[in-house]
């Protein structure tokens, strides 16, 4: 289990860690929570996230990652939502 967490972090370094200059959903380790600060996405993606309750100020927990590292599953106000890494990166958290 811990081994997997480690390897995930490493992969993040290669695949998506091209450090965006804000703390995003991908920086939150599995099992931890964060508070949404703002969205960097636009259009349909942004709308869908807001509809699903990804509202600034809301607490989100990272539940798990799919076997191949993408998508990730998040828990927000009692239900679970899956996102691809590209979308998760667009959520700024604090």
């Amino acid at each position: 289990m811990f081994g997997f967490r480690g390897s995930r972090k490493k992969r993040r370094g290669q695949c998506a860690g091209q450090a965006v200059n804000y703390k995003n959903m991908l920086d939150i380790p599995i099992g931890e929570s964060a508070i949404i600060k703002q969205h960097h996405s636009s259009g349909a993606i942004r709308q869908r996230m807001l509809d699903l309750g990804f509202v600034p100020g809301r607490n989100v927990k990272v539940l798990r990652v799919a076997t191949l590292g993408c998508p990730i599953e998040l828990k927000i106000s009692g239900y679970c939502v899956t996102l691809r890494r590209t979308e998760a990166r667009m959520i700024e958290v604090k």
Binding site: C15, A44, A66, C80
Partner: protein
């Protein structure tokens, strides 16, 4: 006059149980699953109560009423233009806060709303307690608690519908307070109301808010309908800017946050959450089933289990069904007029042909029953969404979407399905490019109509490696489909709109016996209906195309002389016996001949002493005078007849076989099949195969039915087609002559071509419906034909050039296809990494 008919719209978010509520109200029979996005069609149901008629429309499940997706536009247009007498808004009790966003949007549109707060039982399990009365007070509308899966709350909901559709006046529905934005809304509202006509069509407050949200559809409406539309839009843009500068937030975000705040207030007022110790059951199951290293194993296990239960166990059940189907054929044969000496009456031929065609398909019922039940369980339990979660990464590599999983499974990833429901299910895919790619690749799956031909070919030519061959077919089709999907999305579909993979993970539900049975029966019935209609119609066409123009009179005369010779010989042989006078007439001989042949074939179907005795008994009763001749025992004269009739029957069978074959060769189909042989020979297809393939365009099922007729030898003995085809191959191998039968390599080329073959007629029509263009329909026919022929030719030519056998070639092809697929996946990975690096850099750039 008092209104007696009311229009009720069912609206709500995905997975809130809208469709089950719809079923509960109207009692209609339809598809329900907790996979996001199943309900997309406009479904209308009717129920009557207390003398009123209620027309209930099930709107697509959407999270919101913006204009970003087709479903949202469909729902919104319906609500605006059809002006329902009441909107029943189904809410998910387990996600109340989020569900309320939708309710606010419907209320903003100025429509009368009743809320059905559904899944109260699940909410209770999660420790959520909702004060329905308080919720109703807060919203200012009726709120009914329901558990639509268990039909709880049906009467209360109906009563509320009745009360609200007839209500003269609506109570005071509190509006959402948009605080500092209110002044802009009010200003725009008054501008909009200047046009009375527009104001009567659309609620002005809603339109004003939408303009501030920069909603494309609202802008279009105002632009087209309002006399000073352009000015208002310009004003809305300046106001939007002004507000955003003052507030520091985008208007869209501000609107959402106001709604969210109000939803939060309502939630706080009427919802009590008792934190249960630990996580929910779904969460605990997922911790295990979606555990990173284990998830693929569970998935593979599920696929294997489905394959084992439906295909292997289902196939074991087919012999039982076969005896019944054979009995059915005998029953039909008994009703129809007797066979002629060499040629049968047309009605008999057509009748038996149709029974054969139908039987060849009905034999697969056990397999489909099990398969459909398992898929229904998968859908209802919620595991289907998990499959999408696990597979999205792979599917995404090939330009598809996690939600392409359901269409592919329905289309037959596992073993057998049907492309028609598969393509219908693509409606749930939000991503236009993936959706088109899925539509165009679902037909490559192993639909249930392809399976008969596969099993047939495998059981003859890959008998020793049957399970490996089936594994090859099962997996190579999906790999090829992936490669084709990648090809399509990176070429002709390149410019299409794409959208994100944002999916709600449904909770696990225990599938109900009723639900699963209902769906299984429904899909099975669809299949049987297809057999009953399209396939039978096609089988008659194929019959005529195979029978006519028929043999020339001269040729027929040749066979008739031969038959007459045999008859004369028969008479000579029996002249001395005491029965001779009974058979002086040809009709008497014919009747005995048919009696003899029928008896033989029926004995063949009833193996074992018990079955044989029953057949004996039946025939004894039918014609005691003839039965003596079948079983002469010590009767010497009867023995003579017995010997003679056996010989005559054999001779007749040979002649009939020759006539039938010659007739097919000279038939219309024979001509087409032959004329295509120069092209198809590279793939190793002879004219018989060509005929079967042509006939299978109308419906794939026909391929086996046609094959069944083309490989006639043994048909009279009620041998299964497998046995007949292998008999023909082996027979000709023994003779060492060049034959028209097939060999393993031929079979492999045929399997590959058939996997890539264009969709059947019904599917192409579905492609037209789902893509909305004849261009794609035509493409879905031409592209696979060309591709299939190329690949099959390549495989066959390479195989023959290097004298490889079917099994080696199968392995080789598999490795090649797999290598291509892996290469694509790797390239995709590298590319996305580069892309995200670039994206991150531009983002940084923007910030700086």
């Amino acid at each position: 006059m008092k209104k007696e008919r009311f229009l009720v719209a069912l609206a709500g978010q995905q997975n809130a149980g809208k469709t089950t509520t719809y079923n509960m109200l109207t009692g209609a029979n339809q598809h329900v699953a907790n996979y996001p996005g199943v309900t997309v069609d406009k479904k209308v149901g009717v129920y009557r109560e207390n003398g009123f008629t209620y027309e209930v429309v099930d709107l697509p499940g959407t999270y919101s009423l913006t204009s970003f997706s087709m479903e949202e536009r469909v729902s919104r247009d319906f609500l605006i233009h059809e002006e329902p007498d009441l909107v029943v808004n189904v809410l998910d009790a387990t996600a109340l806060r989020r569900s309320l966003y939708f309710t606010f949007q419907v209320l903003e549109m100025g429509l009368p709303v009743t809320v059905a707060i559904n899944m109260m039982d699940v909410a209770e399990q999660q420790g959520i307690k909702i004060d329905v009365g308080e919720l109703s007070r807060q919203l200012g509308i009726d709120v009914i608690a329901t558990v639509s899966r268990k039909r709880k709350g049906k009467n209360a909901l109906k009563a509320s519908i009745q009360k609200n559709v007839t209500a003269e006046e609506r109570g005071n529905v509190p509006q959402i307070d948009y605080k500092t934005m209110e002044e802009h809304i009010k200003a725009l509202q008054s501008r909009l109301e200047e046009d009375v006509k527009l104001a009567s069509l659309y609620p002005s407050r809603w339109l004003a808010i939408k303009l501030l949200e920069n909603d494309a559809e609202a802008i279009r409406i105002v632009n087209e309908r309002h006399f000073s539309g352009e000015q208002i839009i310009a004003e809305s843009i300046t106001r939007k800017k002004e507000f955003e500068e003052a507030c520091g937030l985008k208007t869209e975000d501000f609107i959402v946050s106001c709604r969210d705040q109000r939803a939060g207030e309502i939630e706080a007022a009427c919802l009590q959450r008792t934190e249960k110790s630990g996580d929910s059951i779904s969460e605990r199951i997922d911790r295990f089933i979606l555990y990173r290293p284990l998830a693929p194993l569970f998935l593979i296990g599920t696929v294997c289990l489905i394959y084992y239960l439906s295909i292997i166990q289902g196939y074991n059940l087919t012999p039982y069904l076969w005896t019944w189907l054979a009995k059915f054929k005998v029953f039909v044969a008994d009703i129809l007029p007797q066979h002629g000496m060499l040629e049968d009456p047309l009605i008999t031929s057509i009748g038996l042909w149709m029974v054969d065609s139908a039987n060849a398909l009905l034999i697969y019922i056990p397999i489909f029953t099990i398969l459909f039940a398992l898929i229904a369980i998968l859908e209802d339990s919620g595991y289907m969404a998990r499959i999408a979660f696990i597979l999205d990464r792979i599917l995404n590599s090939f330009g598809l979407h996690g939600q392409s999983t359901l269409p592919f499974i329905l289309g037959g990833v596992f073993a057998s399905g049907c492309a028609v429901p598969g393509i219908m299910a693509t409606k749930g895919i939000p991503d236009e490019r993936s959706r088109l790619a899925t539509i165009l690749t679902v037909p490559y799956m192993n639909c249930m109509a392809k399976i008969p031909l596969y099993t047939l070919l495998v059981s003859i030519y890959f008998k020793d490696n049957a399970s490996w061959a089936m594994f090859f077919i099962g997996t190579v089709t999906i790999i090829m489909a992936m490669i084709i999907a990648k090809f399509l999305t990176s070429t002709i579909l390149r410019g299409r709109e794409i959208s994100p993979f944002i999916m709600e993970m449904p909770n696990y539900h225990m599938p109900t016996l009723f639900g699963v049975t209902q769906r299984t029966v429904e899909r099975l019935w669809e299949y049987i209906k297809k057999v009953g209609s399209i396939v039978l119609a096609v089988s008659i066409c194929v019959f005529s195309l195979l029978q006519f123009p028929g043999l020339s009179d001269e040729k027929m005369a040749v066979y008739e002389t031969q038959m007459n010779k045999a008859l004369v010989q028969f008479q000579k042989k029996i002249a001395k016996s005491s029965y001779a006078k009974d058979f002086s007439e040809e009709s008497a001989v014919l009747s005995l001949l048919n009696y003899y042949d029928d008896y033989k074939s029926e004995r063949m179907n009833n193996a074992g002493a018990k079955g044989a005795a029953a057949v004996d008994e039946k025939y004894k009763e039918k014609r005691p005078d003839h039965f003596v001749l079948l079983k002469p025992k010590k009767n010497k004269d009867a023995k003579i007849i017995n010997r003679a009739i056996r010989k005559l029957s054999g001779k007749r069978k040979v002649l009939r076989g020759k006539i039938r074959k010659e007739r097919i060769q000279s038939s219309f189909f024979g001509m087409i099949g032959r004329s295509l042989e120069p092209i198809t020979q590279f793939a190793g297809f002879d004219w018989k195969t060509n005929i079967a393939l042509i006939s299978s365009f109308a419906a794939r099922e026909s391929s086996v039915a046609t094959m069944g007729v083309l490989y006639q030898e043994g048909a009279d003995e009620n041998l299964k087609l497998e046995e007949r085809m292998s008999k023909e191959t082996m027979g000709s191998e023994k003779d060492g002559e060049h034959h028209h039968g097939l060999q393993a390599l031929h079979a492999l080329a045929l399997i590959i071509f058939f996997a890539l073959y264009p969709p059947c007629l019904a599917t192409t029509i579905m492609v037209k419906v789902q893509t909305g263009s004849y261009k794609w329909m035509l493409f879905s026919i031409l592209f696979p034909s060309a591709l299939g022929l190329c690949v099959a030719s390549a495989v066959f030519t390479i195989g023959t050039t290097f004298a490889l056998n079917g099994v080696t070639m199968m392995k080789g092809f598999y490795v090649f296809v797999l290598a291509v697929a892996i290469l694509i996946a790797i390239v995709h990975k590298i590319r996305t990494e580069r892309l995200s690096a670039r994206q991150a850099l531009t983002l940084q750039g923007e910030k700086l």
